[in-house]
């Protein structure tokens, strides 16, 4: 506990700001029903009501409270993005490390599959698959996780390769350890720093990906509150010089910036440690 506190105190202002943003978002997501004044799908007033009065940030195109939907949006979008990123890492790092540790044809096959997946622009690929399979949250998560995991695969394979050639991995192999031990006990603990840093970055990309798909109408479906689709639904207001539709976009931007600050700090810390040796 003390160590955590000391670590936080040594963090630069940017990282502290990032941590604060993440904390606020996490609280909003967890306690959404308690904070929000209305229900998620509840139509409470007129269409496009202005800020103030009953409605802190006005109402949307169907007369739902904007503030409420922003808070529920945090819950939906952030949770889905987080779970998807976890999947991404599960798939990406396990296949990447497998390729690094096994080498030869396993590496060849996995790497070529990844090359093929990466050759098609991921947004177009996702649109294609989602329009074939239909849009549901599980499909969405699997498709995005698969597409994004190609990047994680490359990272895990690259950093894993540097570790696989170390003498201690050779020792483990000569001892007769299985591939699972080599990957999870010898290699993974030594590449956790770059992987965690990548996790933060990848989370942002997944987040933007989901929001982008939602904006195009293929992501999270109404009436579920989601920041990407909220921008689209209220886009009309932009013509009237109203900033309301940009609020969800701002929420996305703020979280992205916050997460990146923390990631930068983390990267700097781990690379700084490496310099000392």
């Amino acid at each position: 506990m003390n160590a955590t506190w000391k670590l936080l105190k040594s963090a630069p202002w940017s990282a502290r700001f990032g941590l604060l943003v993440i904390l606020v978002y996490a609280l909003a997501a967890i306690f959404a029903p308690l904070i929000a004044p209305f229900g998620e799908h509840e139509i409470v007033g007129d269409v496009y009501e202005p800020w103030g009065g009953n409605f802190l940030l006005g109402t949307d195109n169907l007369g739902r409270d904007m503030f409420t939907r922003l808070i529920f949006g945090a819950r939906n979008t952030v949770t889905i993005a987080f779970v998807t990123t976890c999947f991404t890492f599960l798939i990406g790092s396990s296949t990447g490390l497998l390729a690094a540790a096994m080498g030869r044809w396993v590496d060849q096959i996995l790497s070529r599959i990844v090359d093929v997946l990466m050759a098609v622009p991921s947004l177009i690929f996702a649109l294609l698959i989602l329009s074939i399979l239909g849009t549901s949250i599980p499909t969405l998560m699997v498709v995005i996780a698969l597409l994004e995991s190609t990047r994680v695969f490359r990272l895990a394979r690259a950093v894993g390769m540097n570790v696989v050639v170390m003498d201690y991995v050779e020792v483990a192999r000569l001892r007769g350890e299985g591939i699972g031990w080599v990957i999870f006990r010898e290699v993974l603990p030594n590449i956790s720093a770059p992987l965690i840093a990548e996790f933060g970055m990848r989370f942002c990309f997944v987040f933007l990906f989901i929001s982008g798909l939602s904006f195009l109408g293929l992501g999270i479906q109404p009436p579920t509150a989601d920041w990407g689709s909220m921008v689209r639904e209220n886009a009309t207001l932009i013509s009237y010089a109203d900033v309301t539709p940009l609020l969800p976009a701002g929420a996305i931007a703020l979280l992205t910036v916050g997460v990146n600050f923390v990631v930068d700090w983390f990267l700097q810390k781990t690379s700084g440690l490496r310099d000392e040796h």
């Binding site: 003498d167 201690y168 020792v171 192999r173 010898e186 030594n190 310099d275 040796h277």
Partner: protein, 555 residues
């Protein structure tokens, strides 16, 4: 400038450090690593700094440029170079001095050269930047220097990239680079430590020649006494950041005063007792006419060796001679293309993946770099405990007891070390843990791949004594790979000399070390520096006489 060739008390003082104090940061605390050292260097003089690692010799060497490594700071004393106070110098002052008047030659030339540029471009950078010479002039001089340093093809070698020349050549190119601006002072930081003995002789001779020729002052940092004896006019012995003793080289060698200096001189006194020969019996491990290749490149040709219980076979040769490859073929990491490996008369599968757990258990390996041989994210208990768990099936309390026993066996206090991470250990302690891990499998055969090369002499000697004790207690067979002949003399029962993937000579130690030698064995033996300060000169004289028969430019 002094024209006197023999540096003496009369020559002008070039560098003077008084009461130098340097602190280094460890665990966010500043600790003094150089605690008040005085150093005086006159023009044209070569000063040797010796001591174990951590003695502060490199730190002092670098401080003579007014520089401290990141994580270090100069906190006290004065550094005056040719009347310029380096403690209060500005960045601009330093820029004018460094490279131009003070140059530095690092231990690893391979790491100090930029792999993306040709040697000649890197050579010319300093003189051109400092405005000392024009590019064309620098280039002509480079060729002269390459010639003086006896680099092959001096006219064209500069146009190669660093990876296209050998380690010894690169180290000489780096010396040439340091000479580029004709500096007043060059700091040599262990320039030959990473080289083979045969290559080392050439680099030493080259450095000695140009330093004398250009009348350059030098600080020569090394932990090898025999090397410093060849190079230095005067020697300073350092320990824990303090000066232990300082004297002229000959006086220091013939009459060391301090106990610590004497202990350095006395090192290498260890000799194992001769093992009883078990020839005639089935060898424990036998390499039978093994040939192995990396891709299309055959690196082992028809190599046979035998290992008996309780004896040590030392495999010697310079880097690239195939001695480590022989170990890799034995362990199955590099499956042989022809020939086989026999264990107690039974053939082992060529690839380690096809060997049974018991076959793997019987042969263990200890590596040169203990740092990379241990997973930095595992505690000592896990590192040593894993083989015990895997091979012997011990769990829980009994596993821990066994780990404690093993730690006691390698003379480390179990309570103190069992929960540590590798980075919390010193170099010698790390190597001991690696030995414990090998023992944990309860093997009959251990391969030691240059296990003492990365260690200081005193520490290395203790490791050898430990290995010898374990061999007697557990009746182990060792394959001891090394390029250091002093180590061979200490620990071997039998010697295998390798050159270019072939065995050139093998037999009992006494036979190999007494004449008549194979031509290559002779070159190897005569290249080991001796304490005698005249050794290098007389050796070169000797070789010049027999020049046609011995090829020196082997690399």
């Amino acid at each position: 400038m002094s024209t006197e060739h023999e540096p003496g008390a009369g020559a002008e003082v070039l560098l003077e450090m008084r009461g130098l104090r340097i602190e280094g940061q460890a665990d966010e605390q500043w600790q003094e690593i150089v605690c008040g050292v005085d150093l005086v260097l006159r023009r044209g003089e070569v000063l040797g700094l010796i001591g174990e690692s951590g003695a502060g010799k490199s730190t002092i060497g670098i401080a003579s440029m007014g520089y401290a490594r990141p994580g270090c700071r100069i906190t006290g004393g004065s550094i005056v170079f040719d009347g310029i106070d380096l403690r209060s110098g500005t960045a601009e002052d330093f820029r004018r001095l460094r490279g131009a008047r003070i140059a530095y030659v690092a231990q690893s030339a391979a790491a100090a050269f930029n792999p993306a540029h040709k040697l000649i471009d890197q050579y010319c950078e300093a003189p051109v930047q400092h405005g000392v010479k024009a590019r064309a002039e620098a280039q002509t001089e480079a060729i002269e220097l390459f010639e003086a340093l006896q680099l092959p093809e001096p006219h064209t070698i500069g146009f190669r990239y660093p990876h296209q020349v050998s380690g010894g050549q690169l180290q000489r190119a780096m010396t040439a680079m340091a000479m580029a601006c004709q500096p007043d002072l060059i700091i040599f930081d262990e320039p030959t430590t990473a080289l083979d003995v045969t290559t080392q002789v050439e680099v030493l001779a080259a450095i000695k020649r140009v330093v004398e020729q250009f009348h350059t002052a030098a600080i020569y940092i090394t932990h090898d006494l025999a090397v410093v004896a060849q190079m230095a006019d005067r020697i300073m012995v350092l320990r824990y950041g303090l000066l232990v003793e300082e004297a002229e080289t000959r006086a220091m060698l013939s009459d060391p005063r301090e106990d610590y200096t004497k202990s350095l001189w006395a090192v290498r006194s260890f000799k194992k007792q001769a093992a009883t020969s078990e020839h005639g019996k089935t060898p424990l491990v036998k390499m039978d006419r093994v040939t192995a290749a990396y891709g299309d490149l055959t690196v082992l040709h028809d190599v046979s060796m035998e290992f008996h219980r309780g004896t040590t076979v030392a495999v010697v040769g310079e880097s690239g001679s195939g001695k480590s490859t022989a170990a890799r073929a034995l362990t199955g990491l590099l499956p042989p293309t022809a020939g086989q490996v026999l264990f107690k008369g039974e053939a082992l599968p060529a690839d380690y993946r096809q060997r049974s757990r018991q076959q793997l258990q019987n042969a263990q390996m200890i590596y040169q770099m203990a740092d990379t041989a241990m997973n930095p994210r595992q505690r000592i208990s896990a590192i040593i405990g894993r083989p015990v768990e895997l091979y012997l099936g011990l769990k829980g309390r009994r596993l821990e007891e066994r780990v404690r026993e093993l730690l006691a066996m390698i003379e480390l206090e179990p309570d103190q070390f069992i929960d540590r991470y590798p980075e919390e250990l010193s170099g010698g302690q790390k190597q001991r843990i690696c030995i414990a891990r090998a023992l944990a499998a309860e093997p009959e055969f251990i391969i030691c791949d240059e296990v003492t090369s990365a260690l200081d002499q005193l520490v290395a000697e203790n490791i050898l004594i430990l290995l010898d004790r374990l061999q007697r207690e557990l009746n182990l067979a060792y394959m001891f790979i090394t390029h250091d002949l002093a180590t061979v003399r200490a620990i071997a029962d039998e010697v295998v000399v390798m050159l270019q993937g072939q065995v050139v000579e093998q037999g009992p130690k006494d036979e190999i070390f007494s004449p008549p030698h194979h031509e290559y064995t002779d070159l190897l033996l005569s290249s080991v520096p001796e304490m005698d300060p005249d050794w290098l000169d007389s050796l070169l004289e000797e070789r010049r006489k027999h020049a046609p028969t011995i090829q020196l430019s082997g690399n």
